[in-house]
Amino acid sequence: MSLRDTTDQSLEGWREAYAATPERKGELFSTLSGLESEPLTTPEMVDVDYDRDLGYPGQFPFTRGVYPSMYRGRLWTMRQFAGFGTAEETNERFRYLLEHGQTGLSTAFDMPTLMGYDSDHERSLGEVGREGVAVDSLEDMQTLFNGIPLGEVSTSMTINSPAAILLAFYACVGERQGVSRDKLRGTIQTDILKEYIAQKEFIFPPEPSMRLVTDMVEWCATEMPLWHPISISGYHIREAGSTAAQELAFTLADGFTYVEWALERGLDIDDFAPRLSFFFNAHLDFFEEIGKYRAARRIWARELRDRYGARDPKSLLMRFHTQTAGVSLTAQQPEVNIVRTAIEALAAVLGGTQSLHTNSYDEALALPTEDAVRIALRTQQVIAHETGVVNQIDPLGGSYYVEHMTNEMERQAYAYFDQIEKLGGVVEAIKQNFFQREIADAAFRYQAEVEQQQRIVVGVNRYQLEDDTAPAILKIDPALEDKQIARVKELKARRDNAAVESALAELKRGAASDTNLMPLIVDAARVDVTMGEMCDAFREVWGIWRETPTF
């Protein structure tokens, strides 16, 4: 090596030297989402104006975090999603999690509840309590939160089409515990747009669904001011196979759509925007994920201020929950999932999340066991207490690659906004199957890359074990379904059925008019009208939604 080489500090010199070294063969160098990347990000590739694009934590455009002190002030909320069987089993799991240091509750409902069927409906057979807890009535909701003071915990409820009904149940449980509505803290998902786009738990057509969402936003603004009436969710979009940029773009576009409906209703942006919250996925491609979160905060703040005219600084803050990627978990050598989840969780923390769910290692096999859930929670606790990453705000800010990735995510999101706009907005794009097609294409491309060994999934297409034994999994006792069916039947026989009929008639009248439905739903809940009966009333008035199957 000549003397000149050791003093060469030029980019050209590096480029030549790089080109002279062979790259690894066979595997892709693009991100998990297929984004091509240079081997090195250099200063001239990154267009960042500190004040315009980054700012300080808690200051516009919030790229570096929504709060001035971030985790030095308060750690994120450790919130593990739980629910199975009847309200009694889930109530026990809730108490277990609170005893082990969890700081918020998160409720998973079973498929019949999510789809608006009571447990005794024929379509519910075999599904009651399987993937979450069955809640048919206000009584079930009371059992679910038995012994848990609603004035002291914050609760998240993952439900969409029937969200208004479950919110009413929760408000009534609070009332019966002596906690007034304006003291209740928590989040209900309510994000119906991403159901049409990705998760497919829809009941009614998009327009009446959006009206119901807007009713909730309006009602919460005055009645439940500490509550987050929508959690605008990219999580399920990503799980359905989207790229990181699609997750970001479609979620933000959904967010803008909720804002527009609420403004159309006549609400003031600053009366509801501070209560909108978000929910993102944390997948394995570390820097891509961190760029996604940072871009999300910046875009939301800018659009809320400049496009929708928000003046309250709280309206500009994108606060979000994160869940590690279920789709990244493997059924093969499931213990390895603990490692995947830890890396994903670290990305979420470095991306500035406000709350976090870490998946359990056995979730590609079944609902998690208690031991698996405990390890998942411990993973968060290790990040929080042992790694030191919580002591520095946005520690990756200023990294050439992270800033470049943040810009790139933003650029792709705006390109999608333009496309969606040209299609006539989110609801129209849903009807044209635009999102569904984009996601299916991305999912198929990824699967092909894995099958062609261009992407390696440890234990699946490399480093397999001959004898890959599955761990013990959680079994849901089939008797729980019968117990729940008996319970709802017994309730239907015991209650004041004349009061039920008149509440349902009111509900149908309300659904056909443009009155806010929330007070009517609360009235119906109080006289033990079930969730399924309320959904049936709406089905009768609004009809149901069917998507055109495509692949």
Partner: protein, 130 residues
């Protein structure tokens, strides 16, 4: 040409797997009919009958497989379609998979299965009798 109905019974909307399989089978030269979501067992049997299916691929991730798959098998038999090949894909614990195979399901594919593995299986089992 092998005719395959890809069916989504039950209430869950997890359709990533179903769509990937449907595409992979189509790309492999099969005629694929995708039912769409939220199908009852009766609707799936009806589709298999109408479409003169050689095989039915059931994708289910709701945990209700032990309730719904046997109903589809019974329905097919009742319609004289007992020879239609039935395969299942989803998050199916091994104990349940064994029971389903006993009931007449030809194969159960769980997470991590290769699409080419499924294509080969269907080609092999649905090959026209010479």
């Amino acid at each position: 040409m092998i005719r395959v109905v890809i069916a989504k019974p039950g209430l869950d909307g997890h359709d990533r797997g179903a769509k990937i399989i449907a595409r992979a089978l189509r790309d492999a030269g099969m005629e694929v009919i995708y039912t769409g979501l939220h199908q009852t067992p009766d609707q799936i049997v009806e589709t298999a009958l109408q479409e003169d299916a050689d095989a039915v691929g059931i994708s289910i991730l709701s945990g209700a497989h032990m309730t719904l798959v046997p109903r589809i098998l019974e329905g097919l038999k009742a319609q004289g379609l007992g020879d239609v090949l039935v395969v299942v894909g989803g998050t199916i614990p091994e104990d349940d998979a064994a029971e389903l195979r006993e009931l007449g399901v030809a194969a159960v594919f769980t997470p991590g299965a290769h699409t080419s593995e499924i294509v080969e299986f269907l080609r092999d089992k649905c090959a026209p009798v010479a």
